[in-house]
Symmetry: D2
Subunit: 334 residues, 4 copies
């Protein structure tokens, strides 16, 4: 590719800022030409410091800029599918934060638009790019543990969100477990065909009053015959717990938490080591860079993204089924 | 107690021999006066070597011996409840291998007989006496991790049993998971009120043809609001996998596998450490001694056993519910 | 061997009692016929409980008993060589607690007597029989890590002895490091040819006033070209620290401490695990049984002991050299 | 500080390039204005890509540029002291790669020039800025383990350098152990007063023929009474081994190796985990950024560097003493 890829970042909240700054620091061949945010004024200083030329309040300005090759969609979830459709129609490659939408029809419309336009479309399931989980996937694909029998994901947050948040987020299965639904698909290479959500409110009553759960063990059946389980909690006081464990016919693989240091202190009372890295920014920072690298590679080499539109759709379908399972108290087929 | 406790061991298969020999080696205040086995001739040499005076083919001889204070029932499962009833009526204290029976009515009859006779009755859930799991229970009871939210047990065997075995054993939920049902009750101190078995045949087709499963993730709800999961597989090629993990409001507890050594070898290819201790004899040998010690203490000090008749009954009830859940594909309330 | 091996235990302090009781519990083919202790009266109850027939104040009674095949010498160190000589002359096989003596001449006399009599002689370096260290040795001998380059032993006690003790014990290098001198010989299969003791009084001034050190890093050179280091401290507040680490041309081996349980507790403050097993009784209990088993096997099968007279002599020589090195501040050739 | 700090990088070999690129990526307030390298032509493309304006063959051009605030000296060791002197006289702040020089007189002259000029001078002991070792230092300084008694550093390379290299590097004690001499000073906060080098040629005979050793256990005494040991080997086939372990009166601290992932694979043969991160670039990459950050902070805030000129001098003195100790076979006082 003879010239720099020019991108526009749409939505400059926390994750939008991370992506913009990662691009500027790490990708010499990519230029962040513009950033759009409904609160444009609040980000002008930040953009100036990073040397971003254009700051817009209206994302359509980004889409209309014919010089821009790709957009990074980091706006609020309810705008993802609409912006995706417009960007696709404008011929832009799209990196879209997860989830694409909570509405299955709108996801289908967005994917259809992407399909028609023939642009690259990658969903922000960054954990696929994590050093630990990527290696698990590689080992499974190499056949190191034979056929997968059991896949388990532990994913617990250090602190619960405010109850207000769960009212608009779609609930735990859609705002949190969605990453884990993606992870089990990624690791097994197989589709979830049944889900049963054993869930409860054990952390914060206000979350229950807002109609959601905060603790869950979600049972899964896969198309390839394997079974699985996702363990979620909105609060693990010892920190962000991100592990997987796979049993196969020839062995098992497990992933422990990353820690800030490997220091162990032994005293008269006990032997103590580090808690896990604090939260997703600390734990997954490298994966945010890696997913963008993969996205730009797709554009440059005209290859398929590692996280496709279908990969964006499926976890939402599983999440909705998990919600239904919890409400009805029975397993739900997909 | 002024004199030695005199015991009769009924059933001298593998576990009966272990108990007899453990008593002789470790309990100076206990005497194994007699042993009964339907194949009496095959155990005479073994008994002579241990200095056991009487070897009978008929267990009734043990029960009729008024000099005997207690019986250790290690015969085949289908005889446990009947022998329990007779031993109780003869006023003997009873240590009974698990399960008491697969028939709930017969269990009730046995427990009733024990109750009427006022004898001590302890069921052989030896894992309660394991150094690791005992400490987990103590920490939970001390409140070290607050209220229990999630309890998980991993229990996988190194090699599957022959398909013939599962036809008579009651199936995986009753011959294997039964220990784990006991464990979750022991650790949480709460009753299982609902069970959902996500299970499959992924190890040995012959087991499936014999009407059983060999791999399962069993979802649980507890009376105290906690949720739980048991992970079973008839074959983990890396060895006997025996772990638990508890999440509570103030922290988590996990137990790793015991290993033969702590040796780590680092080479150009990798860093390798020991597999878990091979199987239940290696892993739980100390607990077999500890459970008998507890049993004899109950007799001497006239205290309640750590594993009661109810503790023998409940796991069978949960196991039957798990079986039903698997067959119907829905959660079952207890 | 058609009959039981009959042994006499000489010296029934802590370790003598452990050996006697281990024999009675675990070796059906061995009988503890007699025990001798200068405070015979204080051990009569204990002996009666174990069913030991004869209790003597004078060890010569044991040696004169022609029915006794072997003696277990657990008396005070200054009597070891004399009793060894007498027992050898009486044709008894000998298991002798370490060290044989602090006086090199007396050790030579004892070994000479053993040699002339042609009896089995095993020194109580029990750590050679430890599951961890035995496996390290096996791996080295198999060539798993190629040629040994560096051997390191960490050996620290949980609490220091009273200063009174070090006045009579020969000092740290002879009462404590002696085990580690044996360990490095055992692991490398090579002789120490030079020793340099970097030592200090950092735990208890009274130990310094008694003429000894309490903390040391002892540098070693081996005949096969390898180099080594022993790390000793009389006090590690976190517990009994017993590790080794070997570097070879094809890899490294390390041994971590054994712990009472594998329980890990994670809380808001930290992740904590068990301290090492408390002290040598907890840590090495199985090795005390294993060394006796090996001793009796030598007798029955007429094979060479795993710990020979030379193995008893060498660590004393190295210990004396270490002492000299510390006093002179230079390396000492052996 | 109203303007960007302008730096010139002198010497653009591997480490010079790393520093230049780290500055450009991570320090928005710092500009790499010029780079000098005796092979200027070979670095022009690299410099252009990074947007560095000036490329010189002669480092004096950098020093003469009055616009430049600071120099990063990454040229060959024999030029460090001379360039330091010239840069100091030109009033430039100096970041100098280790070692300052192998000649003590020239180090003193360089430090004197720095002193007279009053410029900031930081030596490139990057490991002080490593997340693991920094935390060890903090814990020691907080008193978490009481008074330090024993300090141990393990520092082994994955592959040996060519024998040619050791002829010009000053030898292992000066090119490799020098980092560890700095580390023990950093961790203990105390000076080494005696050194004894137990060393051998066990990796590559050619290294021995070139007059150097490749394997060493270096015994240390500290001014505060503590003792220590550095374990070096030019080749650890399992990878770059970088650990420390400290024993104090109230506890111990240990640091394990960082690994690429936390993945553990368990199979029928063994349980295997990652080898350490491959070599110093992988292991210490973050520390290279952190040391520069600290250096620029010193300039901006006019504070003292974390690694001073004395910190640059002392490890060379210890290294020379270690060499002498090895040659004479005795401990050397400093």
């Amino acid at each position: 590719m003879g010239h720099k890829i020019k991108v526009g970042v749409i939505g400059a909240g926390r994750i939008g800022k991370i992506h913009a700054s990662n691009i500027i620091k790490n990708f010499a061949d990519v230029e962040v030409k513009a950033v759009a945010d409904i609160n444009a004024d609040t980000i002008r200083d930040w953009a100036a410091e990073l040397g971003i030329q254009h700051v817009y309040a209206d994302y359509k300005k980004v889409i209309e800029d014919q010089d821009i090759d790709a957009v990074i969609i980091c706006s609020s979830t309810d705008t993802h599918s609409q912006i995706t459709i417009e960007a696709a129609q404008a011929g832009k490659h799209i990196f879209c934060e997860k989830p694409i939408d909570y509405d299955i029809d709108r996801i289908h419309q967005a994917l259809e638009a992407v399909n028609v336009a023939g642009v690259k479309f990658q969903v922000g399931f960054n954990r696929r790019f994590d050093h630990n989980f990527k290696k698990v996937r590689e080992l499974i694909q190499k056949g190191s543990i034979g056929d997968v029998q059991i896949v388990k994901v532990i994913s617990r947050d250090p602190t619960p969100p405010p109850a207000e948040y769960v009212k608009v987020s779609g609930g735990m299965f859609l705002d949190m477990t969605i990453h884990d639904f993606d992870m089990v698909r990624y690791l097994t290479g197989s589709e979830v065909i049944e889900v049963y959500a054993n869930a409860a409110v054990l952390v914060d009553k206000a979350i229950g009053e807002a109609g959601d759960v905060d603790t869950a063990l979600i049972s899964l059946k896969f198309a390839n015959g394997a079974i699985g389980m996702i363990d979620n909690c909105r609060q693990a006081v010892y920190g962000y717990d991100q592990r997987v464990e796979i049993l196969g016919t020839k062995g098992s693989i497990s992933v422990a938490n990353d820690t800030p240091t490997t220091v162990i202190v032994s005293t008269e009372r006990f032997v103590s080591s580090d808690k896990p890295k604090y939260f997703f920014l600390e734990r997954y920072m490298e994966s945010f860079e890696a997913e963008l690298k993969a996205f730009f590679n797709c554009i440059v080499n005209d290859t398929d993204p590692i996280v496709t539109g279908i990969d964006g759709l499926k976890p939402v379908l599983i999440g909705l089924a998990a919600k239904q399972s919890y409400q009805k108290g029975t397993p739900i087929r997909l």
